[in-house]
């Protein structure tokens, strides 16, 4: 079992991050090295400033507000929570002063960020079981949502255990030691990480997160990088 834990927590993490970074960059380079479209692809009437409006379209999804307000609320909750979650993970490496503008205990959000994300993901997933979204979806869409749901669920479990159920054996400091050791290429697994009661949560969380990262560059998740340039095309 220890070997399995080790493989998931150390080499697989390195492989996942390598695939994520190299894959994403390679995909972006491939797309943006293609020649530009010879004609404008914008929608009229046009408004200035185009860059600012493209940012607005990308991050606030105004067209969704108009058509599907409930879906928009879930999308915004999801994406904002995702951002908080990324910040939370960065804080597991190091204490950043910028993030502590509003003082908080690591991990961010008192457990609610993970809860919101789980609910949103369930909503997105169940939505796709319904026509016409079912006919539009391909397996990739379900796999990604399930994968992300599992990642978030097991990740949040660790947070919830500490926050809501007073579980003390696995703390932010233990994660920090583990993550920093990975970062400095001197991987070290403390006994808190591998043998405490909630280790399996941690291992499963990392396992699903690894799969998610490895799939990222090859999937529709690239929309996180491609949305802005596409919205710029539409704004002209």
């Amino acid at each position: 079992m220890e070997t399995v834990y080790y493989i998931i927590l150390v080499p697989m993490v390195y492989v996942a991050f390598a695939i994520f970074f190299v894959g994403t960059i390679a995909r972006l380079v491939k797309i943006f090295r293609e020649p530009k479209n010879p004609t404008t692809l914008q929608i009229f009437p046009e408004k200035e400033p185009k860059w600012l409006l493209a940012l607005y379209d990308t991050f606030l999804l105004p067209t969704v507000t108009r058509e599907k307000p409930v879906f928009w609320a879930f999308l915004m909750l999801f994406h904002v929570s995702l951002l908080l979650l990324i910040i939370g993970h960065l804080e597991l490496f190091k204490k950043f002063k910028v993030f502590q503008v509003i003082p908080h205990e690591v991990f961010l959000g008192k457990g609610f960020v993970g809860l919101i994300l789980s609910v949103c993901l369930l909503f997105f997933l169940l939505r796709r079981f319904k026509s016409p979204y079912r006919e539009l979806s391909v397996p990739e869409d379900y796999y990604l949502l399930i994968l992300l749901f599992l990642t978030v669920l097991f990740g949040s479990q660790m947070d919830w255990a500490r926050r809501w159920y007073g579980y003390e054996l696995l703390a932010a400091e233990d994660y920090r030691a583990y993550l920093v050791s990975l970062l400095y290429l001197k991987p070290k697994l403390s006994s808190a990480i591998t043998t405490s009661g909630h280790s399996f949560m941690m291992v499963l969380h990392v396992f699903f997160a690894n799969l998610f990262l490895m799939f990222f560059p090859f999937s529709q998740l690239m929309h996180s990088f491609l949305s802005l340039p596409m919205n710029k095309l539409r704004r002209g």
Binding site: K30, P35, K36, N37, T39, P45, P132, E135, L136
Partner: protein, 417 residues
């Protein structure tokens, strides 16, 4: 489908892959926000008319042949082989899409369905499975450009016969030519369609505004664009560009044809002349006081259908409204606004297919009919040949009880002498 044919088709597919096309192919999350965007889905409720569904028909072939995933894990994105059946699906997707780009307004990323359908259309051309009539018409246009001398005489005779009617509507000063053709050094080259309705009212207004104009030998319509063949599109376009350069005009004015205008405006590149639509020219004449209109000519309430290629896709939005404000005091705007305006259902070459797809053309735009009815207008004006034909068909089919009119002819009829 044999190996060689498929390879040739995939080469055509590859030729369409530029930066924007890659973005459109890579990014869809199939979120379904575009569901209600397409008039065909909104009118008929069939999933195959949803924009994302149409995209996916092209995208599945892309995943199969242009992404490693197509080989490593084909089922994850349901990638699909390019074969006879796939061609039929591509046909259904492309020739039920008018390229109105209404769905592009809905999409959180702004995926351009017309662009993706242009891949489908090009593959169909490559497989000789496109609607033959469109290619035939495109080839006729190209041929006319190549051997103009053969057509010149009959064209000039035809034009001469129209002059009397132009003069009837606007008396010229002695010695003036009612329809000037082939005038070097004219200010404006007017590119019309084959048909008196596209030439006479335009000529009347140009003469009234004392424009130094000349009529093009060629018709504006670009069947190459309808059939989605970039080479033919370019050849048809070049005939006019060359004529404009030869006559050293300052402006090329395109008749009421949305696609012709958009192709000329956006695809002709940097040229020594400006490109305008006839509606823009009319608005300019009115603003400069070169023509005046009599509002008493129109008694009934008027509404205006924005041709997608002219308005949402090329920005001619304010000008027709200004012209209408000079024509009537009872102009009724359609709701929702121009970005969300429903397509008439005739674009993308669909009208040119005539009776073949009449049933679909009528059923697929029930929403447009309702939109027009809501205004309570009796006159339905528009500034595009295809829209005019389609709206007239709808008027008959649904007993809408409106009069469908070209904006240019409304201007010509209301001129103050």
């Amino acid at each position: 489908m044999d190996e060689k044919t498929r390879d040739d088709l995939l080469k055509l597919f590859r030729s369409k892959l530029n930066e924007a096309m890659r973005l459109y192919l890579e990014t869809c999350t199939r979120c379904g926000i575009c569901v209600e965007a397409c008039h065909a889905y909104a009118s008929m409720g069939q999933v195959r008319y949803i924009a994302a569904y149409r995209h996916e028909i092209v995208r599945r072939i892309y995943k199969k042949y242009f992404k490693a995933r197509g080989k490593a894990w084909p089922s994850v994105g349901e990638s699909k082989e390019l074969n006879e059946m796939a061609l039929r699906e591509l046909y259904d997707a492309a020739y039920s899409c008018t390229g109105c780009r209404r769905c592009m307004v809905y999409c959180p990323f702004g995926i351009d369905t017309q662009m993706l359908m242009s891949i489908a259309k090009l593959l169909l051309v490559g497989a000789h499975a496109e609607p033959e009539i469109l290619t035939m018409l495109a080839d006729m246009s190209i041929e006319r450009g190549r051997s103009l001398d053969l057509f010149k005489e009959s064209f000039l005779t035809g034009i001469k016969n129209l002059e009397a009617e132009v003069v009837k509507k606007w008396r010229m000063e002695a010695g003036g030519t009612a329809i000037p053709v082939d005038v070097e050094g004219a200010d404006l080259l007017y590119v019309a369609l084959a048909g008196a309705h596209s030439i006479i009212p335009a000529a009347v207004v140009f003469n009234a505004a004392k424009e130094r104009w000349t009529l093009s030998f060629f018709e504006a319509v670009n069947f190459g664009a309808f059939v989605g063949d970039p080479t033919r599109t370019q050849l048809i376009l070049e005939r006019i560009v060359n004529e404009a350069k030869r006559l050293k005009v300052k402006e090329v004015c395109i008749c009421e044809c949305g696609t012709a205008y958009r192709v000329m405006k956006q695809l002709s590149g940097k040229q020594p002349f400006e490109v305008s639509s006839i509606t823009e020219a009319h608005a300019r004449y009115l603003r400069e006081g070169r023509i005046q209109l009599d509002k008493s000519k129109l008694k009934d309430p008027v509404t205006y259908h924005d041709p997608c290629q002219l308005a949402r896709n090329a920005g001619v939005i304010e000008q027709p409204r200004f012209v209408l404000s000079q024509l009537t005091d009872d102009f009724r705007e359609m709701a929702p606004d121009v970005r969300y305006n429903w397509c008439c259902g005739g674009g993308g070459g669909l009208v040119a297919l005539g009776e073949d797809n009449l049933d679909f053309r009528m059923k697929s735009v029930k929403v447009k009919v309702d939109q027009v009815k809501q205004t309570g207008a009796k006159i339905l004006a528009t500034a595009c040949e295809n829209c005019h034909t389609q709206l007239s068909d709808l008027n008959k089919h649904y007993n809408m009880g409106v009069e469908v009119r070209f904006l240019s002819s409304m201007v010509a009829d209301a001129l103050v002498q």
